[in-house]
Amino acid sequence: MNMTFNDLLPLMPILLVTATAVLAMVVIGIRRSYAMTASITITGLLLAAVMAAILMPGTNRQVTPLLIIDQYSLFFTVIICAAAMFIAIFSFPYLSNLDDDKEEYFLLLGIATIGAVVMVSSTHFISTVLGLETLSMSLYGMVAYPLHSKNSATHPLEASVKYLVLSAAASGFMLFGMALVYAQTGTLAFSSLLSAGAGISEGYSIAALLLISAGIAFKLSLAPFHMWTPDVYEGSPLPATTYLATIGKAAMFVVLLRFVEISGALNFTSVVVVFSLIAVLSILAGNLLALLQNNLKRILAYSSIAHMGYLLIAVIASFFAEGTISIEAVTFYLLAYVIMSLGAFGVASVVSTSKSEFDDIADYQGLFWRAPWLAAIFTCMLLSLAGIPLTVGFIAKFYVFMAGVESGLWVLLAALVIGSGIGLYYYLRIVYCMLTPATDKTPLPFSGVESLSSHSVLAILFVLLLVLGVYPAPVMAIIETISAFI
């Protein structure tokens, strides 16, 4: 089946993002201008987000076997493009005084976004791999970006190498699994493994499923595939970390969700067991690892491990309960998680610069009295990560609890409770550190240019955090409708 003109409209967001990247590339080719490249990227992403938002109601179209543009994928396209735009805005001041070429960064960012968008709208192995690798490739670059700068530490290099090697291996797992599945089903599109089980042992298909799951689990940094996360998070420049932590995770999770739902993987009890095990392990490992950690980026890395564990609970739940609550749970949680992490990392990157990053908790001592505004936002983001009411994080956790209760996953819920309990501790540690009066009254050295834009982004995120925390009803409604498409 070949593409018709009507397919172009649904594809607009992707095309826009691609155009942005290309344009940026061209512009760099013509004349290096940091501000220019940045603004092009930002506008492009904004346009894409808006476009996706406009298309969202009433679009549900399979464009070639590779891409499915339905409300669900568009919803996430919006999220991803917006998030990417925010990250771009954060990156601008952060990189502004990097002693190296800065423009390509935005190029990479744009390309990575393409990959992410493709991932969320793919129900086909090829497009998945395509998107995933586009994303990863550009992420390697983003992670290693400040490589040449003398004053930025050796960490980016190390982080990048680690990430590259391991994630390549993980891709290997995934690809091999896909191959096995393909060998069994005869199609590269996501499809149920139950129907085509003819003549081949169940163990085989389980193995195939688990290989793919392992690959995905690695990208989602789920235990026991989580170990790379803290190092990469710590090593990368903050905007890259942010990207990795938000868009990277969200896009990957959408793929996981679609794959699990379509392939009916959870019909195999053993797969359920393994997933549950992974979830519990991630929750415990993530929270325990973060417990006494002093490096902010590592803490957030570990906490992201735990959060992915929480999300996995909802995925498992989706199999047991009728109705789409668990899907909605995943969706809302991802939305919430993107907002929270953007906020948390955003504050960090606002106070940091490519020269010197403030990623030790101690750096934030007395922030409450030195920069109340930032501190307030940061606190709310952390509380939201901890799942305290008035914030979106609470609603998200509420969803997960609901899904868990609905499916009666008591063990997982217990893990969830314990994990959140431990989690509170290290989130509050940071908060308390911000509360304790600073020993030195010197204000935080803000990043190269004290940019209003990133502050306004923080403000937006803050508002989102509270609004979605206090009156989520409209978003709930949207999510309810789009979740029907999974």
Binding site: I388, P389, L424, L435
Partner: protein
């Protein structure tokens, strides 16, 4: 609508107070005072307006909130809530007063937290949608955490953290229970609902009901607190600033008891019936054990904290006896203890403010130096040991009287708490105010008698206690209708179950 105003005033007032600090650091406390006074006024109007009316619900508002889950913004107040609202507002005023001079740094943020805590508490006392209830339940924690963590004493981080973790984790268990209820409503009636009245109709059968009930029970007894979930309280209290302790002891603990009365028992009548012996045993243990531990303390605030646990034991006892006298007793104890404990903490606070120690070993013979304070302290410790004619007696007497009708053994055991209470209360007086004046251990230059303003607060609380003690009918009548309704409801359910 008035309920929304009640809560809104505090939320808004808090924000204004915070901002106003930029203009003038004296504004926040004024604004806070105005806000709480306004609330108090509104409540008096609300309650006096409904005095004598047989209607169970004095005021209510019900608006859609999250239709997806049948969650609605449903506030309503009956006599029971009314009393507790009154207590909250009253102690709010007291707390602002006690912070008036003590809180010097960052007053704006302090009063913001204070008012928001109070707002959360009001919400808890009026929310009839379980989601909303949980929402407020958690909302009141964070500002409290800040109060302890910022304005607390030497070991504030630990205390604040402990307080937060205990309440949070137990809260999550309650959340699960709430969700199970809502889900069962979905199963039995086809729609999600967190509405209190709807959920009353839900019957989670047998084994599960006990577990679900336990979710609530643990959350509430952690807040109450009761053995074995009490150990956060001494730390929180000893570290919190005076105003914090006042709110904590006076109001926050009462939310737990309120939860038990309003939710834990009525929602799960049979399970509660089966569980009552255990709960009452826990209560008895709390009463005796914590009275004993209290006696051993040398830090005044720790001591008072433990006595609080001991006194709240009577509340649990009364609640799980679940008959009219017992419930009224529990409510009276909540009110009376709210005043007496708050007052004792204020005294401890003003002592610490003056001599910068809470260690009783360093004190002694203060009576001649601070006669007024001594008299006030004497009054409140007498109240605490349950002297007839003061509120605490009415509460504990009724609670025991009621409890006796449902469980003789445990009531008799708990009654020994009266003896222990006299032991520690009198010991405090002896140690601090009697004996030879011990000024060697601290700088007593600051040791001045209560100021006129302080006397006003204490006077007000004394009056309150005497009123409760000499003419409790005012309060008994107010809560009678509400409690009657609860009793009747659960009675029906139990009987119906027994019949089926």
């Amino acid at each position: 609508m008035i309920l929304v105003v009640l809560i809104g005033v505090l939320f808004v007032g808090g924000v204004i107070a915070w901002i106003s600090e930029r203009i003038n650091p004296d504004y926040p406390r004024l604004i806070a005072l105005v806000a709480v006074l306004l609330d108090l006024l509104l409540m008096v109007i609300l309650l006096s307006g409904s005095a004598g009316s047989e209607a169970q619900w004095l005021a209510s508002i019900d608006a859609q909130w999250m239709p997806r889950f049948g969650i609605s913004f449903y506030l309503a107040a009956d006599g029971l809530s009314g009393l507790l609202l009154l207590l909250t507002a009253f102690l709010g005023v007291i707390a602002v007063g006690s912070a008036w001079d003590e809180i010097k740094d960052r007053p704006g943020f302090f009063y913001f937290n204070l008012l928001w805590t109070l707002a959360g508490v009001l919400g808890v006392f009026t929310a009839l949608d379980l989601f909303l209830f949980f929402f407020f339940w958690e909302v009141m924690l964070i500002p409290m955490y800040f109060i302890i963590a910022i304005w607390g004493h030497e070991n504030k981080n630990y205390a604040a953290m402990k307080f937060f973790l205990f309440t949070q984790v137990s809260g999550m268990l309650m959340l699960i229970s709430i969700l199970v209820l809502a889900y069962f409503h979905y199963i039995q009636f086809g729609t999600f609902s967190f509405n209190y009245h709807d959920l009353l109709a839900v019957s989670t059968g047998g084994e599960l009901e006990m577990w679900v009930m336990l979710g609530f029970f643990i959350a509430f007894t952690t807040k109450l607190p009761s053995i074995p979930f009490h150990s956060w309280l001494p730390d929180a209290h000893s570290q919190a600033p005076t105003a914090g302790s006042v709110i904590l002891a006076g109001v926050l603990l009462k939310t737990g008891a309120y939860g038990l009365i309003r939710f834990a028992v009525p929602l799960f009548p049979e399970a509660s019936l089966a569980f009552a012996p255990v709960a009452m045993t826990l209560a008895a243990i709390s009463i005796l054990y914590c009275a004993k531990v209290a006696f051993a303390q040398s830090d005044i605030k720790r001591l008072i904290a433990y006595t609080s646990v001991s006194h709240m034991g009577f509340v649990t006892l009364g609640i799980y006896a679940w008959n009219e006298q017992a419930l009224q007793g529990a409510v009276m104890t909540m009110l009376a203890h709210g005043l007496s404990a708050a007052a004792l903490f204020m005294l401890a606070g003003s002592l610490q403010h003056r001599i910068h120690t809470r260690n009783m070993q360093d004190m002694g013979g203060f009576w001649p130096k601070v006669p007024h304070m001594a008299t006030v302290a004497l009054f409140f410790s007498i109240a605490a040991l349950g002297m007839p004619g003061l509120g605490n007696f009415i509460g504990e007497f009724l609670a025991l009287l009621g409890a006796f009708q449902s469980n003789i053994t445990l009531t008799v055991i708990s009654a020994f708490g009266l003896i222990f209470a006299s032991v520690y209360s009198l010991w405090v007086i002896q140690k601090i105010f009697h004996g030879e004046f011990a000024s060697t251990n601290f700088d007593d230059s600051q040791l001045t008698d209560l100021s006129r303003r302080e006397m006003v607060y204490f006077g007000a609380m004394m009056l309150g206690l005497v009123w409760m003690g000499m003419y409790p009918q005012t309060f008994l009548d107010m809560s009678a209708a509400a409690l009657g309704g609860l009793l009747a409801g659960s009675q029906e359910l139990v009987t119906s179950v027994v019949q089926n």
